[in-house]
Symmetry: C2
Subunit: 227 residues, 2 copies
Amino acid sequence: MRQAYQTRLIDLGEHGGRMCRLASDAMRDATAALLNSDLALAESVIGLDLEIDEMRASAEDVALELLALQAPVASDLRVVVSALWIVADLQRMGALAIHVAKAARRRHPAPVLPEPVRPIFERMGTVAVDLADKAEKVLLNRDTELARTLEADDDQMDALHRELFAALLSPTWSHGVAPAVDLSLLGRFYERFADHSVAVARRVIFLVTGENVGGDTTPAGLEAPER
Amino acid sequence: MRQAYQTRLIDLGEHGGRMCRLASDAMRDATAALLNSDLALAESVIGLDLEIDEMRASAEDVALELLALQAPVASDLRVVVSALWIVADLQRMGALAIHVAKAARRRHPAPVLPEPVRPIFERMGTVAVDLADKAEKVLLNRDTELARTLEADDDQMDALHRELFAALLSPTWSHGVAPAVDLSLLGRFYERFADHSVAVARRVIFLVTGENVGGDTTPAGLEAPER
């Protein structure tokens, strides 16, 4: 029984790792679909919807069962509670990747991205996927040192977000209102994906140290770009 | 000891109710600040930042302590776990109200809302505050019947969101790109505020029935407006 319990705890951690991989792959593919107007790739990301929700639900069910039947304490309790938090962030990351893929599908075969903002979204995609990949490593290795570096990486996303707004509001913007609306929302999806990656890392810091540094919150003194 | 434990469980529920009231008031004030270009009111909402984060943190700490020291089971366990979920949604609702207030502050003394979209945001504000008020009632009375009505109310927000995009993309839109960017993001903030209210109601259904219907997820078959 004791061994089954330990196995389920370990499974819960690995489950988080797999969900994080799925979210990272989904954002990589959604970005490629956006950049290349690739409808099939967009559809494949959009089709992950149910799988992502089911992964969240099954992780929650395991966590709830462990709490109810095993009454874990100390570090075991933190594993279970942080899993409850983390799968919510990972589910949201998957949903945001799906939003990006839907933008690519909605405009197909027209490209979503006017030329001047293509490099910004290429880099947003790279930063988002890197953050999710780091969050996966943090999760699998319980690496609090790596966890603490994610906030700084998130600053890159904020800088790209500011660059995007500067492009949209520049007097040389010649693409009109409709693409600007699409791009504002797309920028927001990438920014939130990055925020949730940071939140996952923060919850691992709690898991390891017991220090509750919060999840999806902006630490006092730091600000999202003013838009 | 047993009584102290029951008292803390009840406190946790009431704490959620207070946070929900705070989020509802914040969104009401943020909307008024937006509609009336009221800088002082916007500042008062923005100033709630730390209080909201502290409320989340203290609720989490109580929930973690109850799990660790009391190993609650059955419905008590569900009270504690749902509190962990619910305060995350409520914290996010507060953050979204602050985003709205910041938009009002950023443009002050200029109005953020061009005339044609004012009525849309008036109604978005009303629907958002109604949803949060219902979520508060659901929380305080553990009212699962009321909880199940929130999804339908959320449809009103989705309809308003579609109306907003129709206005922005209409050939008669004469306000240019910059306000369209602001308004796209503002619309998103209201929509997400509504989603989180629904998530709170869903978590109360879990609390009462043990049925895990998910939190901040789009149920299969339902879709956010395609933008």
